[in-house]
Symmetry: D3
Subunit: 134 residues, 6 copies
Amino acid sequence: MYRINVRDHFMIAHSFRGETFGPAQALHGATYVTDATFFREDLDADGVVVDIARATEVLRRILGRYNLTNLDGLAEFEGVNTTTEYLARHIADALASAIHAGDLGETARSLDRLRVTLHESHVASAAYERPLHA
Amino acid sequence: MYRINVRDHFMIAHSFRGETFGPAQALHGATYVTDATFFREDLDADGVVVDIARATEVLRRILGRYNLTNLDGLAEFEGVNTTTEYLARHIADALASAIHAGDLGETARSLDRLRVTLHESHVASAAYERPLHA
Amino acid sequence: MYRINVRDHFMIAHSFRGETFGPAQALHGATYVTDATFFREDLDADGVVVDIARATEVLRRILGRYNLTNLDGLAEFEGVNTTTEYLARHIADALASAIHAGDLGETARSLDRLRVTLHESHVASAAYERPLHA
Amino acid sequence: MYRINVRDHFMIAHSFRGETFGPAQALHGATYVTDATFFREDLDADGVVVDIARATEVLRRILGRYNLTNLDGLAEFEGVNTTTEYLARHIADALASAIHAGDLGETARSLDRLRVTLHESHVASAAYERPLHA
Amino acid sequence: MYRINVRDHFMIAHSFRGETFGPAQALHGATYVTDATFFREDLDADGVVVDIARATEVLRRILGRYNLTNLDGLAEFEGVNTTTEYLARHIADALASAIHAGDLGETARSLDRLRVTLHESHVASAAYERPLHA
Amino acid sequence: MYRINVRDHFMIAHSFRGETFGPAQALHGATYVTDATFFREDLDADGVVVDIARATEVLRRILGRYNLTNLDGLAEFEGVNTTTEYLARHIADALASAIHAGDLGETARSLDRLRVTLHESHVASAAYERPLHA
């Protein structure tokens, strides 16, 4: 199995609801250094998993929706706790949609699965990994 | 599949028995920068894999048993080579016991598996990954 | 010249005023991975620059004032842009006060200077370095 | 499942053929910081996955074939695009041959699988993972 | 003294002349992960050393001149060994020119000095630091 | 001013005397990831600060004196606390002697100063910087 990984970041404000979050119930924020990892069984005709420049562009576009925002004010996150885990899945699903829409090129449609990892500090991260086909 | 990772470290002395260890048969030591990774299929009701603060605390407590000790003098390691691989499993098993005992919270009992990685330098590490249920 | 460095982090929300900040004028946030570096000409009687455990504790206490807050709502930052550079100095000055107050031990009073570096992502950081004596 | 990881690097020139590579069709180069990860179900009699010193030596020897060369001029790469993904597999296959030849020791023959990751920068990497037995 | 640091990278081919370079006399290549560090005594009216987004853009533009090229074929490097040290200075001087030309904004003209660090691997780097005013 | 940096590591056991060291008075150990940084005003005739391969070799030789030992048992450390700061200076002085002895080549004698940084974990390090000429 092959994989490639590209990295970017986004910076947001948010808050959590629920006593288990303790002081993180207050409005605070985070830089999420984000790794997007794409897996496939065989390389495409160009000898790549997916074009690294194109994957970087698509990741930047998706993170750009949230970069420099307060997630608490975005309609798509209404009523949810935007935990690092939740955001990892949210971004993974957005990348999957981009792949299915052909944004990473025709051959990217045969990618096997992808993983999104959000590093919230030098000592903590969360990730979500999913298949790209049922 | 979701995962979260928390990082801490511990500093120990030890020595190895067996010719294959060459100069590492002498008493020496290591800093082990330790990653504990927790996996689960679905998020709990709070939208997390496991509480990062609580996971950090439990990891610190477990590493604290060994931090600033000479492993050669601890009864639990009598007769074994405390290689990086061996220690990764030992700490993974201790974390699994803590999870089963409820130390990471009730919902942590439904975690799927965990991995412990010990970085012994900038160029070498070892890890052990195990399921949490038979 | 000797130095020691200890690392911790804090996570905040804030916004900037001024057209030069473009989209960063909106409420957003950051994780600041923070390095505190202490310099001195000679070691103290124990053979250290300053006790690493104590330096870590004092840094954690200072960062704890801001961790999980919205800086826009704190009186001490009223009317200022809490840029990474500004915060680096603010924390450096707080550390200098702690040193002069004896919080890092008596011998820490003879430290020469200190630097605080805030890493806002894997690709950007800011720092402030200052002497500890006029 | 246990694993160990060792890291080294090599520095090469190369170029790519095909319009999809855009400006990378020109002769350029890369430093590949290389992680070799070895997996096995159980530890050997010495309590290790494979000897870290020996794994480091074998990895250095394999990377040494390519270090400080122009890959475009090597017969083994004639007619192929030496993408990061392709090279990850090429090195993984060379390591697998070394394992089967006994270069990592007799017990290394029972390793389960291996992964080779090539980091081409601080923001991009590729990897190939394969079993060691049919 | 304040400073900010921004990071980017470029990938090149080159070769060295002179017996002291041994095997590096052959055509090979490198990824240079590049840190540009800007120093100034006081913050500007916006509370920054220099705008991080603008510094990142200018650095990218300068590295873009060399990215994905063979340095041996560029007129500006004719007759010189493009060692990591030499390139660090070359890029630092190009950044200084950009600052003096106003590319980083009017207030950037009062920057004090700058440093450029090129990381050629996880174990080696070179840097050049220079004042910005005579 | 130019500089180059090379990195290696060593793994030791030791203990400290003095109540201020608390639990570190017990025998324990550390991995020291070690950066040696060499500074000079102008490049030599080959266009380098000092040969990176040669600097790496000399650093490895010096660290090799201590790697895989118990520092408490070495005559040269009798009666001293081998703190990270102390070791940073010890290794810096050994490197300075090697430079003066010509081990890094004739032109290395005109190096200006050097710094040795010992990273004892992902969150703590110590360094010593010294001139090479009176």
